[in-house]
Symmetry: C2
Subunit: 255 residues, 2 copies
């Protein structure tokens, strides 16, 4: 199996966010979590609380005093940054990042994604140790006061979630659209024709096709509508049963 990237959180400020990150990792098959100089005590009860079900990831989490120590051992390291970081470095979409991480991992490289702290993000020294940047696309923010600027940005758990999602997606072979496999076959033509004629006969009897000059076009539309729904044999028979029931009702009404 291709080894998933490690998640490295530099100077996270809140245990809750580390717990949320661990849970997000679990959802998408990531397992190695490293913390560089966390700003809270470790192990953290708050991290445990938010990690629900990802306790094994927290239990195996390792701590490092600085970026040089925390990044040791990796061949490819991508750093997440918010929009508009002004550095001369390739900026990748999460999808492209996942593609590169997977290609590197498939070639036996050890890979990682580095995330900055909740408030300040990564500093330039940390970025200078990474191969490229990742920026998650978000909606353009309306003009707001500087103090509100964080509002529209992603928190740490959300950022880890989206990168984990793209990692899983990059090898996911689920077809864009699928239906539960069913032994039912689309109705045969004679069954559909039986349905058409049955329905049209009863509609004729009920005076549905009016004026008569429009009958032909109305029948064509009706048949197109039925064909479009892709009925199975069973469904075609069910509809004929419904017609019988409706007609029976009508006579009852008259009685």
């Amino acid at each position: 199996m291709t080894a998933p990237p490690a998640i490295i959180l530099s100077q996270p400020q809140m245990g809750e966010n580390v717990g949320a990150a661990a849970r997000a990792m679990k959802n998408f098959g990531l397992s190695e979590l490293r913390l560089i100089a966390p700003k809270f005590e470790w192990p953290s009860d708050r991290a445990q609380m938010l990690a629900s079900g990802a306790g094994d990831i927290l239990a195996a989490t390792t701590l490092y005093p600085d970026a040089a120590a925390g990044l040791a051992g990796f061949n490819l390291i991508l750093a997440t940054t918010a929009r508009g970081r002004d550095v001369l470095r390739d900026i990748l979409t999460p999808e492209e990042a996942a593609r590169r991480l997977r290609a590197a991992a498939a070639a036996g490289q050890k890979t990682a994604i580095l995330f900055g702290g909740e408030r300040a993000g990564l500093d330039n020294d940390e970025i200078s140790l990474c191969d490229a940047l990742i920026t998650i696309p978000t909606a353009p923010l309306p003009q707001v006061k500087a103090t509100e600027l964080k509002a529209g940005s992603l928190n740490l758990g959300q950022a880890v979630l989206l990168l984990g999602y793209e990692w899983l997606k990059s090898a996911d072979t689920t077809p864009p659209s699928r239906t539960r496999p069913t032994p039912a076959m689309p109705a045969t033509r004679e069954e559909l024709i039986g349905l058409f004629e049955h329905l049209e006969k009863e509609l004729d009897a009920g005076g549905f096709f009016f004026p008569a000059i429009k009958r032909e076009a109305m029948v064509r539309n009706l048949r197109a509508m039925i064909l479009r729904s892709g009925l199975t044999d069973q469904q075609a028979r069910t509809i004929r049963g419904m017609i019988v029931a409706l007609v029976r009702n009508k006579y009852r009404g008259k009685a």
Copy 2:
């Protein structure tokens, strides 16, 4: 502008999750939030707390007593479900769902994504009112006790986040990889040749190419390494300056 889908939460149990959903919506440009029969009082302080910066979405959120009321007005409604729902209905990936929602919206249709409550998800009656299902791919869960099964699943805020992300992505034209535009041009050939010859001359003087029979191959590798890094004029000059400084050092050492 193509109208984004409404987010409809059916019987949400916790205000926090509605707040997190609103914040996630904000990040990706969604704005209409509907609640069907929430299980807590509305408006909700807890929702406000988690919505940081998405208060406008909460302020405009509308409540409905049941699914028929909450789904009124939409032409295309997709319902999110966890893996493995056993219904005869198309199951879409989030990416395909976003594509269909955007195509429908571009044609003037009003679209929505329906999410079930935190514990039970959507019931079959609700699903029967929707056009297709969306399942978010997640990592296969290891065998766990039934009580732990929820651990690996996504919470409401995370599910809204991922769908919002795919909605934004479906019209995002950010190139997979980009670099800050710079007026700097790749170095001209004569500048690179100047660098090669300067470097090789000093390396010869320092006895680097040893044994002499390997000199040619070593020079070829060195030049390939330099060419691969795509130096600009300025960078080529900087490296020549570095060579000068290193050589100066050497003579100092000898003095």
